[in-house]
Amino acid sequence: MSPVQTTGDARTNLVEVTDLSVEFGEVRAVDGLSFRLARGAALALVGESGSGKSTVASALLGLHHGTGARVRGSVLVAGTDVQRASGEELRRLRGAKAAMVFQDPLSSLDPYYAIGDQIAEVYRVHTRASRRAARARAVRVLERVGIPDAARRSRARPHEFSGGMRQRALIAMALACEPDLLIADEPTTALDVTVQAQILDLLHTLREETGMGLLLVTHDVGVAAESVDEVLVMRDGRAVEHGPVTAVLGAPSAAYTRELLGAVPRVDAPRETRKADSGQGEAVLEATGLRREFGRGRRTLTAVDGVSLTLRRGETLGVVGESGSGKTTLGRMLVGLLEPTAGEVRFEGRARRGVDPAVQMVFQDPVSSLNPRRSVGESVADPLRARGERDEGRIRRRVTELLERVGLEGAHYDRYPHEFSGGQRQRVGIARALAADPKVIVCDEPVSALDVTTQAQVVALLGELQRELGIALVFVAHDLAVVRQVSDRVAVMHRGRIVEEGPADEVYGAPRDPYTRQLLAAVPALDPEAAARRRAARREPATA
């Protein structure tokens, strides 16, 4: 038995990480990282994908034990030396003193058991409580995180909960044993912006009431600004900058932090106007009374319910909405991948059925929308071949040209998708859309899978292509800030309908629809003080 460490420091500091390095084979995910977290304090680890932030979170609970990862340095959490602790000591730490909330609330709960039973199981592992007492405890913590009718809902299985409720259930599980430290790994990344605001508010309230410490791992600077006192910016496994949230976000000293902040799209910044005639050109794509149902009988789901819109030559129309609002279904109908149940799409004045090469699509997930067994050149050449081009020399020349046009190299023709980064793959997807010389491109969440710096580059590329080639864009996204950045006009979707449509600055500057207002109020602000003000504003209607 190794003695449990309870040094003087451990009593004041909840977490002490000294010179932590984690290696997976040849890859050094974390490289000499040190930080402290005082009792009751909140720290955010901010960084892009691959920066090592989640690896650090796992190391705090010793989750790398037995996985083949090499961990060096020292990690002290709530008085436990994680590096030297036995399996039994680690089990006593996990969940009881330090609890973790994971990113994806759907896959993080066991689909086969009732939510209340899962929480009760965790509680019983750490206390000697009876089954009945543990179950009562589960209901209490579910109530605590705001699950209505918790006693009844605790018998539901995860698939019967919405995304936001599942995340609340995970937080309830974390609260079950009243831990000193809550580790939240991208707790809101899979959630809609209004739900995200509720979860962040909940974390904030719980911290005020219980005095527990918070270690928040996030890629979203806005989420960090809303939630913590201190920020540690990570890149390639190292700390780039560390300090109070106001200092790091307000006056960043490291060049990388400035770059990161610069790339974050702002929902409150008007886009630079480019053309006076925007919104005045002739209509290329018109949709009237579009409606789409899925399923039959009582299970019928109306995904899009009577949408009419007009896209003019050379403009960008942003379609923004939360998950389930019908925006992707709408995008697919515009391209012709889905036949509408009712209504019609007219392209250049003619009614259209099926797909038309002049209307192309860029998909959300650049990983799964490219065939992994074919070279990217072949993928980009597909639309050319589909048009009947047979001359291999011409195809290769045109594809090379297209790859160069989107910022890749012609020599990339024979490479395969896995050799590219997410941003590069999305460029390939854009090149493929351009190959058919389209007049319209519908982009369905084109940047949501990308890091902010990459996102900014892809958005810039789309704008550039539009200016040069005069293509009209439909930009479908959930991210209000990105949509504002790229769009001339914006349509806000809610439950299959467009609730508000107009020039971007008008919709964002003076929203008329209550739903639009609610959406905008939920977007995290980059300024911690503004965030606190808005949190107070969000709370008011709840208490009133």
């Binding site: 989750l63 009881a96 993080s108 709960l109 689909p111 086969y112 199981e121 592992v125």
Partner: protein, 335 residues
Amino acid sequence: MSVFGGLTGFVLRRVLGAVATLFALSVIVYVVFYAAPGNVAQITCGPRCSPEQLHQVAQQLRLDDPLHVRYWHFLEGLVAGHDYSTGTSVEHCPAPCLGVSYQSGRQVMSIITAKLPVSLSLVAGAMVLWLVLGVGTGVLSAWRRGRTSERVLTALTLAGTATPVFVIGLVLMIVVCGEFQWLPFPQYVNLTDDPEQWAWNLLLPWLSLALIEAAAFARLTRASMLETLAEDHIRTFRAYGVGERSVVGRHALRGALAPVIALNANNVGSAVGGAVLTETLFGLPGIGQELVHAVNVVDLPVVVGMVLVVGFFVVIANTVADVLFAVADRRVVLA
């Protein structure tokens, strides 16, 4: 509860589906065997049939009627039974009547009811053994992944898959009954006559059938367990200090069982009529042996009847598996 109502509806739909499948199966089997080219009376009766016998067979099979009328008659027999003449007297074939064997003159149903208990005894016992051995080995080798114990288990299951049943059965018999004489050579005893002797005599057949099948179950369980062990919710429970035994046994195993149940349904169903080698080796007078015999002597009524009975067990086993899925995971009901 609305969820339960959904479940009841699901079970009803599945049972209706099973009935429809059985009906389709009966049509296909009937058409394949009786509409095949050639003189059906001659094939049914055998090469040494006298012209009178041929005539009698043709009459009983109603060969002058069109096929769909004959099939309807066959269905009638299944539902209501019918009388038929043996030439000297009139006998009654009670429902469900599958017809009469032209080799033995016995009713097909009585042949089946004589053989079925043997086959069911063999399959039921073997199933328990192959599930315990197979799933146990699979869970263990997934959990001990990368260690020596896992390599040994993997090698054993590979050997199990590759060994024919008559090799394992023969070796078992030679060692257990011949060399050490721990058990007498197996001889089938009815469960109702002497349960203890029934079990002792079936022990070796069970083992040899189960060892082969267990290998497939071990490999499937291992693969399925490795998949569930990599899922996010397993990480959740580990991160909350839940013990390894509970994580593996409670959370991972339950998720991994679905394909195992599906494989089991198929194997149970087909082993009822398909465990010919085991039956032959141990001299068990089961359905499999009888079916092979009937095919060899082209006793069409017996073949058709037995294929239908075997099909019945395959369909029932799969329906039970579907319902088990739905009970284990209510999301199935919604899909």
